[in-house]
Symmetry: D2
């Protein structure tokens, strides 16, 4: 059947392997698309597996560099954070993968796009809104929302059975009693035994970062240099190792952060579909970069612009979380926020130690900090009597309010 081609976001794992085979059974030509976004994966093995399972084509793309510069950098510029805690490590990967899929679909003339995300989560939304936004005529196949598929695959046993029957290699390591998502920015752990929000996570759940108690007993010092709100250089003070290319910088900071147990959180968050879920995340470089950027930003950015930026950043975080990366509003805030970063440059001195990030100092050629002006020992241009007027004018409204409200109260 011509053109019934589907581009599947293939991970190499059991689920999407079963989906690949199932899609074929349903009569589709399947192009397996696997984006390298920094996950721990044997890509050649994955290619072989998909080919063996009958994929018409297997496309493996290393998008790590783009993932850093086009997706993570705008988030760093904006200091994005969802509900005051979550750094959006999974959320940001979805539009990056979806874009890759759409590019393949357009090139190959495929109408269908498919993914292995569940029907209760955020990822289905992030994938599909990206599909629809970049490719309005896309048709989506989301097996985990389709009754016929769900009926067939009620639990892991069914998947195993199906795998055995269809020559899908079974995972060699036993599955953890939780699920995991991984990319350059973070690893997440959720569901399974973690679904009870009271249950403490197992001590060794985190794969990327050293447990803080096992981290080095000596702090590690380094500096990050920013230009236009993004890191352009990282340098460690002990080993002098220095990185100055986006992907290298990001990986370098991941190493530092991982070594010292940085960026582990355990939270309950609000999903877009209206339910609360519990997640455990580790985001070493992301955590360091947010602290560093907040610091260099505040010495170079006007305070009222900062307030606007904070509002827009909060909106931007919502958009990213809910899947609206590719959207008119996403584009608008991205461009506006980028504007705000023109002068955000300088060097931040930092230290990590046993799970915590410390800022030690900062300097910037575009600093708006005026040491002389702020000094208690220098009067300079500043006339303290001005402050008296400033306060009295600010107080005018408060005094009137108290006076008149008291008057009213007495009168009644």
């Amino acid at each position: 059947m011509p053109n019934k081609t589907v581009v599947l976001a293939y991970s190499g794992g059991l689920d999407t392997s079963c989906i690949l085979v199932w899609l074929k059974e349903e009569g589709y030509d399947v192009i397996a698309y696997l984006a390298n976004i920094g996950q721990d994966e044997d890509f050649e093995e994955a290619r072989q597996k998909a080919t063996n399972l009958g994929a018409k084509k297997v496309i493996i793309e290393d998008v790590r560099e783009n993932f850093v510069t086009e997706f993570m950098y705008p988030m760093i510029q904006a200091d994005c954070i969802y509900e005051d805690r979550y750094l959006l490590g999974t959320s940001i990967a979805r539009p990056c993968i979806a874009r890759g899929q759409v590019k393949v679909a357009l090139k190959e003339g495929a109408e269908y796009l498919s993914h292995g995300a569940t029907g209760k989560g955020n990822d289905q939304i992030r994938f599909e809104l990206s599909y629809y936004s970049l490719f309005p005529k896309a048709k989506v196949i989301a097996p985990w929302r389709m009754e016929s598929f769900i009926e067939k695959f009620k639990g892991r046993t069914d998947l195993f059975e199906y795998a055995k029957k269809n020559g899908i290699p079974l995972p060699v390591t036993p599955k953890n009693p939780w699920s995991t998502d991984e990319n350059l920015m973070h690893i997440s752990y959720e569901s399974g035994i973690l679904e009870n929000p009271k249950t403490e996570a197992p001590r060794d759940i985190c794969k990327r970062t050293t447990h803080p108690e096992d981290a080095p007993d000596k702090p590690e010092r380094f500096e990050i240099e920013f230009k236009k709100g993004v890191p352009i250089r990282v340098q460690c003070h002990s080993d002098k190792k220095s990185s100055d290319k986006p992907l290298e910088i990001y990986k370098h900071l991941n190493e530092i952060g991982s070594r010292h147990g940085i960026g582990r959180i355990d939270i309950v968050e609000n999903r877009f579909v209206g339910m609360k879920s519990r997640g455990i995340y580790e985001t070493p470089a992301g955590t360091i970069l947010r602290e560093a950027h907040l610091d260099i930003e505040n010495i170079t950015m006007d305070k009222e612009v900062r307030k606007l930026k904070q509002y827009l950043s909060n909106q931007f975080s919502q958009y990213i979380y809910t899947g609206f990366w590719y959207s008119p509003e996403g584009n608008f805030v991205r461009e506006s926020l980028a504007k705000s970063q023109e002068n955000v440059e300088g060097i931040v001195q930092m230290q990590v130690y046993k799970g915590h990030v410390y800022i030690l100092g900062r300097e910037s050629k575009t600093s708006l900090y005026n040491e002389e002006l702020v000094s208690m020992d220098v009067i300079s241009d500043y006339n303290p009597e001005d402050a008296a007027g400033f306060i009295r004018i600010n107080a005018l409204r408060l005094r009137e309010n108290t006076r008149l409200r008291q008057m009213t109260e007495k009168m009644q």
Copy 2:
């Protein structure tokens, strides 16, 4: 001269002692008001000193309990933070002290209020806006803004000379090359050698918290119970020590946090008067409580209410920082935010270790978390096909936008 009485916010230190004597010289009767807000001070010695210096009256008031329940609790409920980092430990103390002063002024029939805050800082504003709001007819004497005073006291040497001449006891310990402010919530360090934002703070600058590197090698576990968004119980898991009264709870958490080096930050912030300044703050209990409250809040609060709360909280933080605690807008947000906390209750399991706070788990009788609903293994009431419709309707606007913008672009 009748009624030329001034109530001075007296600290017991050199500056306000000199101001006390100077005010007398200027012809005022001086009432020294010293609020115990948890600073490290010998209050009886301070009383004696003020009396010796000729204060007409010395009033020392232990307001620690009120400081916790009336000032810190609303901040905890709101998750207040200024510019994403500062927990407002100095800001919140000012209206508390100012209220004490105004009460004394009204009782004693004094028209004048005075304080020792500098002319470049935020504290002068926080003191005086509180004065004016609570006592619209107040007259303010801010010596550090008055030319005659500044002329007389150009540097510390002048203060020392004046002190010697007027029998003001000199500090026995040499002054640090920075200035400090202290209360139950935090200690701040700024100015002096810290004015250069690049200069790293001395290793042992912090007085309250143990240096993280010197903190215990074993994590400490405890739980905090909340009711209506404020802590009602703290219990350590090792020593079983438990506290359930506001001041006790706060002190208990300060102990835990101090022991483990919690809540140290080094930031550049935007002062209300328009300059940037650098501050180092330590806020052990405040840091723990913010993390704990964010956690219990997110499991018990609706997500859309949370967004509103976040906006109001951000405004509230601005008001507190800029001195508008006593203001119509301050009252409005305080009441609104309190409303949002009716169901914020439950127990958070926590751990501190070497400078970092960890959430381990949480439980709540008023939880909106539905383990069955979120479970990937249970369909329950949730129909995954609904999500397809949800996504397609959300995508409608995006698809139209892409389609029409592409059309427009082609046409042009």
Copy 3:
């Protein structure tokens, strides 16, 4: 079949009559619920019709008083407006009707709720979110979204055929080439020939308000008195007619506004489902009340509280438009905004003339306006030199920014 009872939001018109019969055919017992929210309807005729069509029960409820006090009053307090123009006349009626339906369902033990709203509009959402919020176990039948129903009723001809076959009385007047929704607050006109946003609406489309060109040649003057942000009295100056009960006040203002062609708009708006639609609305009393309330509010409310109120009001308007009247966030803003109205009281002098509303003057016992303070001829307590300090401190940041940005630019 026990308990397969459905409560239908019955309007008395052709569509819901067909739905009533169709529901019966589908095996439901139908309770017809008809809320009197001020539409122009012969309610007894409607009752007879529904009974004749086989409704198990017909419940007609006059909810006009509640509609005014529980639904419109919070909107008046908040100055609600959607996208700067739409006064939400249709939006606000839906939760009011839905609540009536749910009450009946609970009382009668019915599980099902049904309505005649289309599948592309906002009303389906407003009805159903209200149902689900008030009655979480509700089951919804929305015929205009069901393939079987849509297939059967492809156009008006099908409805007419079905009506004839089933003894449903046909409308005596020919249908306008647009659709209409009506209640005490407004009448809306949309779809049909109005779907082309360029097409001018027919001159005589509006049923409630006189065409401005046909309105009286003399302005009409009246005053509205507010208490706690809601009107408590309306008095005309010419005929001395006065009203002081909620429903009477609202009807009185509708009369005044209708006579003078007040409150007609023609807009394109953004529906919740993501499409733009064009609507023509007439909202006479609502338009007058919004102007009057804005005016009395601004003389009695602190300016910073006003900013918060404006933000919350904007959110509230979004919630009402998108159907979240009954929701945690809706409750939260309603309560917060009500708080802000404690002192919003006084009398506004107004005039209407040929389609426009004018404010002539206002007075209030709780006014924060201080005539003496603002007067250019009186210095009073105000020291103009304070303004100099106020300005200089506000300028500090601006001057620094210019100075340092220029320096930076020169250096580069």
Copy 4:
């Protein structure tokens, strides 16, 4: 004394003439700067007068075109409005005049800038913040805030005496019992008998617009074409008159609006200095343009971008009102908002009649309105069943909230 030169914002009226002479008495060389921003003034007579009074130089500059394109256009793009009612006609003129003054000061090497604004108003702030921002080293002379000046000129009698003594021509027409400010955008009336907010303004107070009752009995129709959010053409339908240059367009719309009594308001507003004041404003073209722009914007702008725009626009209006046109935050929002206007283009059909503006229809090549999609008669691509899923997912949170809150309540 070299370089003690002051650039005075000269209006040609009595006040600034007295200030001119007084400044000379105080030892300054005075450069009189008079900007033509569309006020009704005999500029040559003013030049002569200033020269006669001893101005070292008189500079009269026609900045009307710039006033429209650089100041009003960004406001039109943003739909600016202060406190929901005031169109900022006076506010926006100040930075325009101040910029002219600063340019002269820089060119002439003058250090001082002066204006005739009072010490209680907003204009002093708008002038001076603009001065300081554009010229950080500026020194400001604000006579109406200086004790020596105020002492000398306690009332109008003193001004008259001084004028007579110094050869300053007295106004030939008796002064109205209120004060006025005028420019191309609007005329304002305040103070004097208008200070009592209850007092109705005299029938014939407005100078620019015809009283609505005296306006033509026939409506007038015209269309406005927009491109990038600003008007590029106005055409009347009756007389076919058409304008397509910024200043011409603005004047043309002022004519239309003035003829029909458009844009008159009577409000109480909150001044930046903390007091409430009452003002009467007439803004004919500004009122028409805001309505037209809102309309064309809503058919061409994505709804979520619109929400962001609305927030930023509200902030922008605050900045303009409080004098922060030239500021980092002002620049930021101006640029962001301009971005949002890229596709805001099309033609709006309008009508004015007896004081009211009506939108009749609109069309746009960049429209996001899809007539087919919204049509109730066409299914097209839209699947109504999607709406069911959309609603149920949106309801999930509401149902859970009701269910769990009820459970909690029962349990307690």
